[in-house]
């Protein structure tokens, strides 16, 4: 009799567990569906994640290889499924990060990016594809994630993080990742994390190098503790200026995923007061001991003076996008448009076209009539280049018998303006007999408006 009761009770318990698992699955699928079709254009308050206490049979099968790790185990896996993680930036770092977090069974994944997918992203932003070109990156990433693991709730945000929406968004996510590429957003995310008391797993990558730190975690510093003042805008290089080998942010994004999984499953991170530097050229990882939290830090110190988010574009003197800055150093009279330059070419007016881009860019594409002297060589007054310049000018002077028109071109029309200023200051007979102007908008404007067959990069 007692045995029968016990057996019935056990069976009942099993059925209840099954029903709970089915309900959970149904809820997840319903929520998952509606989440994905609804691209979030503004920050709203999401319903809280339903808390899991056990794993379903399907979960056990899916995560079996990592469940076998004593460091994770069932407890860690359940913890992962109860965590919401926000990924700020679905680019070269954010893509592999989101991919591994979803694969590992994170409960909810917020994917934020204001940009759309472009062909030049695909070498490193591996969740996007040829068919999602032109789509919001957040949506493109969420679709790829959904194909990988439909039990993860994906929330795509197609918006720019700002002082007005950051706190509302961040308070909904216990774990934050910084994968973006501009200085104002970096300070914004840092401050919002400190004010919300949340750790920030932050990485960056450029050219062949990467860096990773976990800020505001277990007594470690925040980003401001390390960098109280923003770098001068002219010293900041982003991927569209400096270039990046796709696999380098891939490596750093994977390391970010590892740290998130360690924190979310209760193991803790190894980087709260450490900076990991990766040099892909030399094949070297290096871990640096950083300062502790700074008492005088304006946001995380003993007497913080920054208690509300501020205007970060003003604080940093630069815009919160990776789009290239447009400098205006010259007057209108010192510049010609690509259309005006086209007319000069068509009229066969003798002139010098000086391309001031680095050689690596000239190798990608150039106008056949140009001579190349990189801006850096002009700045350093490299002898061989100055000689080349003077000889070319003096040959042209034989033909024109008057001032030699010099047109300076670069990729976008920023460096060309600096070069015009340099040439005007240059001494010597030859350089005194020139009228120098730059081509506004550079070769990319040429490709867009004059010659559609000219490559864009």
């Amino acid at each position: 009799m007692d045995d029968t009761i016990l057996s019935l009770k056990t069976q009942l318990l099993e059925r209840e567990r099954e029903i709970a698992a089915l309900k959970k699955k149904l809820h997840q699928m319903e929520q998952g569906n509606s989440m994905l079709t609804e691209l979030q254009e503004k920050v709203t308050n999401l319903s809280p994640l339903i808390s899991n206490v056990t794993l379903s049979n399907e979960d056990i099968m899916r995560y079996s290889r990592q469940l076998l790790l004593p460091e994770l185990g069932v407890k860690g896996q359940v913890a992962l499924s109860n965590v919401s993680v926000l990924v700020v930036g679905c680019g070269g770092l954010g893509c592999p990060l989101a991919q591994y977090l979803a694969a590992a069974g994170i409960g909810r994944l917020g994917l934020l990016d204001y940009d759309v997918v472009e062909l030049s992203n695909l070498h490193r932003q591996v969740l996007h594809s040829e068919v999602t070109q032109g789509q919001p990156k957040a949506l493109s990433a969420a679709q790829a994630i959904r194909r990988l693991n439909s039990t993860v709730q994906c929330v795509p945000y197609h918006l720019q993080l700002s002082r007005d929406n950051a706190r509302q968004l961040i308070q909904q996510y216990p774990l934050m990742n910084y994968c973006s590429d501009n200085v104002p957003t970096r300070y914004l995310v840092n401050d919002a994390c400190v004010l919300a008391g949340k750790p920030l797993v932050s990485a960056s990558a450029l050219r062949m190098e990467g860096q990773l730190t976990v800020y505001n975690y277990r007594g470690g510093p925040c980003y401001r503790c390390l960098f109280p003042s923003p770098p001068p805008p002219e010293t900041v290089t982003n991927c569209s200026d400096g270039g990046v080998l796709g696999v380098v942010p891939g490596i750093m994004g994977c390391l970010q995923a590892l740290e998130v999984l360690k924190i979310a499953s209760g193991q803790g991170s190894s980087f709260e007061q450490q900076l990991l530097m990766f040099d892909g050229q030399e094949g070297r990882f290096r871990s640096i001991r950083l300062r502790s939290r700074q008492i005088e830090c304006v946001v995380c110190g003993e007497k913080p003076t920054l208690t509300e988010l501020q205007d970060y574009e003003q604080f940093c003197g630069s815009a919160a996008t990776d789009k290239c800055r447009r400098l205006t150093l010259l007057t209108k009279e010192q510049r010609v448009s690509v259309q005006e330059y086209r007319a000069i070419l068509d009229g066969s007016t003798p002139h010098l076209l000086l391309d001031v881009r680095p050689k690596v860019e000239v190798d990608i594409c150039h106008l056949s009539t140009s001579i190349n002297i990189p801006l850096a060589s002009l700045e350093d007054k490299k002898a061989e280049h100055i000689t080349l310049l003077k000889e070319t000018i003096s040959n042209l002077r034989q033909q024109t018998k008057s001032q030699v028109p010099v047109f300076v071109v670069c990729k976008l029309g920023n460096d060309s303006q600096k070069a015009v200023q340099l040439l005007e200051k240059m001494s010597g007979v030859e350089t005194e007999q020139i009228t120098v102007k730059d081509i506004s908008g550079g070769l990319m404007a040429w490709a867009k408006n004059i010659d559609h067959s000219f490559p864009q990069y």
């Binding site: 990467g210 390390l226 960098f227 109280p228 001991r289």
Partner: protein, 101 residues
């Protein structure tokens, strides 16, 4: 009289572009009456290694914001920053923070 010092200087994160793109430099500082400190080293770098546009590396007598200095694999804040007295064969790294993603 402090003896001459041999140092290993490294530039990374793009800071090397101000030094002809070369990341690793072995330099010899001449002997002088007082021991060399970081402040003097920075002045020496500005005078002997930086050719153009020192404002991209320095601001006043220290490094510009956005450059992290590491002495023997530790944040220089832990070592006394500008006052740190350099030892023979010290390894000093200047790393520009990256802003790509």
């Amino acid at each position: 009289m402090a003896a001459p010092l041999g140092l290993h200087l490294e530039f990374g994160g793009g800071a090397e572009l101000l030094f002809d793109g070369v990341k690793n430099h072995h330099v010899a500082l001449p002997g002088q009456s007082d021991p060399w400190d970081m402040k003097q080293l920075l002045a020496w770098i500005r005078g002997n290694m930086l050719k153009e546009r020192p404002e991209l590396f320095m601001q006043g007598d220290t490094v510009r914001p956005g450059i992290l200095v590491l002495i023997n694999d530790a944040d220089w804040e832990l070592m006394g920053e500008l006052e740190y007295q350099l030892q023979d064969q010290d390894n000093v790294v200047f790393i520009s923070t990256l802003h790509g993603g």
